[in-house]
Amino acid sequence: MSEEIYQKLAQAVIDGELEDAEALAKQALELGLEPLDCINKGLTKGIQRVGELFADGECYLPELVLSAEAMKVALNVLEPAMLGGKQRETVGKVVLGTVQGDLHQIGKNLVGSMLIANGFHVIDIGVDTPTSEFIKAIKENDATIVGASALLTTTMMEQKKLIDAIEEAGLREQVKVMVGGAPVNQDYAEQIGADGYAEDAVSAVNLAFRLVDAPK
């Protein structure tokens, strides 16, 4: 029975079926299955398959985003039920946000979905986010990567402020910083002391893997 549920969870993620994923997660808990097993043997398997299909060009971004959403709703059911401080295995924990004064969210959201589909735990702290919120999220989640998006020439300096604040908070050793957005480029990223720059969602994932030194 448990194997069947794991497989169905994986399939719900592959198919991007949010309602099925949520219902199956609830069913799994009712049946007394271990939440962590449901995640590792079900959801993660499914999202890994989606990642492979995407890399092969057999799955497009809208399908991948739906799969990531299906994974999220199932995690929302399963994670609170995990006992004894157990945590699911992820490639890394990424705090993602658009900097203060900037309301652009599309690029950030796409990067978030892509990272989820590639096994990262993403903590999305939204748009127009003050530096203090980034710092708080890094500390609370013990993050390994911070992704800061800025789409305006008037807000890109916030990325530098964030890096300075991370230094000040003594977190620079703990987190790698990646930056993105239309006015940003590799030179600028280096100039402000970021660890990397990505020009689109796919490059952001590759960069994240490099930053956590994990094989893709």
Binding site: Y60, L61, G101, L103, L110, P183, N185
Partner: protein, 502 residues
Amino acid sequence: MIKLQEHKASIQPIESKLKISILEDEEIRQINQSTRTVLEEVGVVFPSEKALNIFAEVGANVDFNNQVVKIPAHLLDKYLATSPRTYTMAGRRPDLDVNIGNGEGTYYYCSGEAPKIVDFNTGERRLSVKQDIANHARIADYLPIISLLWPTVSASDKGVTSPLHGLEACFNNTEKHVETESVMDQISARYSVEMAIAIAGSEENLRDRPILSQLLCCIAPLAQDRGGIEAAMVFTEYGIPVGLMSMPTLGLTAPPYPAGALTLAMAETLSGIMLTQIINPGVGNYISVNPGIVDPRTGSYFMGSGVAQITNVAAVQMAHSNGIPVLACHSFGGSQYKLGNWQAGYENFYSHFLAVMAGADMSFGPSGMYEAVSLLDHPRILFDREILRVIDDVTNGIEVNPKTLSFDMIKQIGQTGSYICHKETAKAYRSIWPWESILYEDGAAEGRKWRDPVEVARETISWILENHKPESLPEDVKQEVRKIVAAADKDEDLKKEVRGHK
């Protein structure tokens, strides 16, 4: 390269004899109907207390908590009726006026507000600065195909007042009509109006001949920007034309189907236009719909797709069916960077060809942009110009009348003769040979040889920057404009307004 000569600024719209329709009348009716249903039942977010009050006062259904305005169709149509189909976006001289809707053809913008530039001297990609705006405005002033312009890049060296410095750089380097799309708060809007009044000579002159306009970009789906809409309300007050642009990204910020994306785009733009007409009935407006699509393999924003272009051109019919002028075409910037690449060439050709034939009042034209309008390279503007040169020629179509049927000539020359020495041929060649190419002609009959157009473009840009001297503002006006921008730089309220802008 043809021999360039210094000349005063002039403008040259393109009129097309060839016409196309993307949508049939019934399809237009359905999209208009659907747009009105969306406005009545779903509504648009206007995150400005002032705007919400104005809508409420005229009887729109306003949800102040969620800042959503729902507009009954009869109310929308009442206010759209005062938005003019014809009006003038003035240049500093009457012969530089853009007379929208008067049948002179499609006028071309030099647009952009890109954050980056390819440095003309070093070839390095870098953030753009105020001087880059000044240089590109001078190039645009020289080229007649450009009728009106934006600051084409951001003045990243000027911080939050970058939009005002951009306007100053334009006013100092062109006599053509200037438009802003980056003034996105009411305080900066007031400084912009002050600058325009200083240049026009008086508020009355400015109302009579608006030398400045605003393009306001809506937030898809179905929302307006607080700062932007409040800036638009200021411009409207002074009779400054306000264009509304929707940028639906198919399948991301809009439905994946062009009809649905057009419905959304019309709802966004028409709701904004209604607001301006409540404030100042008769103020000039236009609609621009610039769809994009996401590359489903990388997540990159992509402007150059066929589906986005056809949606853009269909918007010409949609705007005109509502009695509103239209600014079409968003290419000249869709391709990845490589000066003179073939992809940029074909994308730009077909998108502009369609827009001209659809009867767009204005179109984003030669700008020098790459990579979804995020990168400027000065010489690219000349490649864009070449494309419009060909379009201008082709869209003249074929004239058929007794003279062009040429029966007398045919009879006179008879069999096996030549038409080259006929007087009519000599006369006709003056008009059938297309206007001069800058990039592919060296001007000298003898020793004519092909040269790399990239090299020729660079020489041309150097020549323009060195030799073209736009008619400058009178010194006292220039100083007045400088003072206004300097005051804005020191304005703490402006900084707060821009930074707190949500």
